[in-house]
Amino acid sequence: MIARRRVELGKHVLDKEIVDADGLRCGKVDDLVLDVPDDGSGPTVRAILTGPLAFAGTLGAPAVRVARVLYRLVGLRAPKPVEIAWDHVAAIDVVVHLDLHTADTEVQTIADHARRLVARVPGA
């Protein structure tokens, strides 16, 4: 029999740091997405939402507008909240560990765009 640990989404998952397979910090769990199937089977957690846009989405329309300005600053015109499939969660302790290498993914959209700007400056 597999030992199970009780994990509360609000207390143990939401607002936690996300760390990728290389140990890089890549944002916070800003929101969670549930799948609610039509066939009457129970809801399951589908994905983590992360990034300033995802966070702003939990606050309302004015905050989303502010977040969009931030994305435009780094050259992103039509940003979407970043979704990380729940399957990629490898472990949950004080942070949420992913089995992904975020360098190959879009998890850090805003940071990756900022990196392109920053990397042009000498000494970066």
Binding site: G10, L14, D15, K16, E17, I18, L24, R25, C26, G27, K28, D30, T50, G51, P52, F55, T58, L59, L73, V74, V94, I110, A111, D112, A114, R115, L117, V118, A119, V121, G123, A124
Partner: protein
């Protein structure tokens, strides 16, 4: 095992936080102005200021060391994203204003010798801040600013030279002087502004994240306590000297409307050389505080959103960290460029700094009592008693700040 130099550099962090905290441009202006306006009647604010600073610094340092996590990381974790937005926005706005104040301070210090327009100088120094934060390592930056800031000890020398009645100073430290406390609203506003100058939010964020940058561990808890104490005592002595010398030379009848007014006590003591050293010292502490403030603001935002941050990594590894610093500097220069009177901006910003304090102090107090975060390093009963008194003081300050700002029209 901790080696000597390591401890020394840890102590330097504390001393810098102490000097940079107590004596930045905000401290120079508010202390001399209160001496000029109220003689020694506000010296008593130093004791609650020092105690509040030490408690706040020690607690945020201990939380970082024992959890391995930083202020805004744990605050968001404990309070949740929405509630944690309150301290983030409050300290964020105050940080940007403080950065504007410190950059204006660098500009005003240079203007004592070189009459260039303030906005131009401010823009130049903001660029200098950016370049230093881009290139220099954390320890270099930290230690240089700490050492240069020690030139402000010239005000202590000036106090000795001007020979105030020390018995009177000692009495004033413990007893508010009722005869010189009018007008009451301005007096109360000055108390708020002084407390904000002693305990500006950026220092605590800088201090605890700085402990992370230097990779402090459990062994450093002693250094943490030591430096919170040594740093504040150093800073407190300089502040005392600023206030007392201003009381001797400027009270009554002279106000501090420019930095040159604030330099008058050192001029009376040591002539033009005194003014030059004072200007250099003011520049150094303002520059140190500007660097710390810019870092602190960016630390906070990055920790809140979970981005990598720090001076240890190359800029391209922490792009959001440097982007945030850039944005802060741009906004700060824009604030200075509006042409607002820098002295007035300083006094109002320090009052707002005091206003913002409980929003981080409160959550930290909760975390410091939560063994799920700090393990066996929770607050002691005595520690909590002192911390609660400090919190009550800060809460009262927050409640009265805005009405006082309106009544005194920004302390003018």
């Amino acid at each position: 095992m901790r080696t000597g130099p390591r401890r020394a550099s840890g102590l330097a962090l504390g001393v810098l936080a102490g000097i940079g905290g107590f004596v930045d441009f905000g401290g120079v202006i508010t202390s001399t102005q209160s001496g000029a306006r109220f003689h020694t009647a506000l010296l008593w604010t130093l004791l609650p200021g020092i105690i509040g600073f030490a408690v706040f610094a020690e607690m945020s340092g201990r939380i970082t060391i024992s959890t391995g996590r930083t202020t805004f990381d744990v605050i968001r974790d404990r309070l949740g994203g929405h509630l944690a937005l309150v301290p983030l926005v409050a300290t964020g706005l105050v940080n940007i204003l403080t950065l504007a104040v410190e950059i204006a301070g660098m500009a005003l210090a240079v203007r004592i010798g070189l009459k260039l327009p303030v906005p131009l100088l401010a823009a130049l120094f903001a660029i200098a801040v950016l370049v230093v934060l881009w290139r220099a390592g954390f320890d270099l930056l930290d230690n240089t600013a700490a050492i240069l800031g020690l030139t402000m000890l010239v005000t202590v020398a000036a106090m000795i030279e001007l020979a105030p009645r020390y018995s009177h100073v000692a009495v004033a430290l413990a007893h508010p002087d009722a005869r010189t406390t009018h007008p009451a609203a301005l007096y109360a506003f000055t108390v708020v502004s002084l407390l904000g100058a002693y305990m500006t939010p950026y220092q605590f964020e800088f201090y605890s994240s700085g402990a992370m940058e230097q990779a402090w561990t459990g062994d450093d808890l002693v250094t943490n306590r030591m430096s919170a104490l040594v740093g504040t005592s150093c800073g407190g002595l300089i502040t005392l000297a600023l206030m007392v010398t201003a009381a001797v030379t400027l009270f009554p009848g002279h106000d501090v409307k420019t930095l040159l007014d604030a330099a008058r006590p050192t001029r009376d003591a040591f002539g033009t050389a005194g003014v030059a050293i004072f200007a250099f010292g003011t520049f150094a502490v303002s520059a140190g505080a500007a660097l710390e403030t810019a870092l602190a603001g960016s630390y906070g935002v990055c920790q809140f959103f979970g981005w990598d941050w720090g001076k240890r990594q190359r800029p391209r590894e922490v792009p959001m960290f440097h982007l945030a610093i850039l944005l802060e500097c741009v906004v700060a220069v824009a604030v200075v460029a509006t042409g607002v009177d820098p002295i007035r901006l300083t006094v109002v910003t320090m009052a707002l700094a005091a206003f913002a304090l409980p929003f981080t102090f409160g959550p930290l107090l909760i975390v410091a009592n939560d063994p799920e975060y700090v393990g066996d390093q929770t607050n002691t009963r005595a520690g909590n008693a002192v911390a609660l008194v400090v919190f009550a003081m800060l809460a009262v300050v927050t409640i009265v700040t805005i009405p006082l700002l309106v009544i005194t029209r920004g302390g003018s």
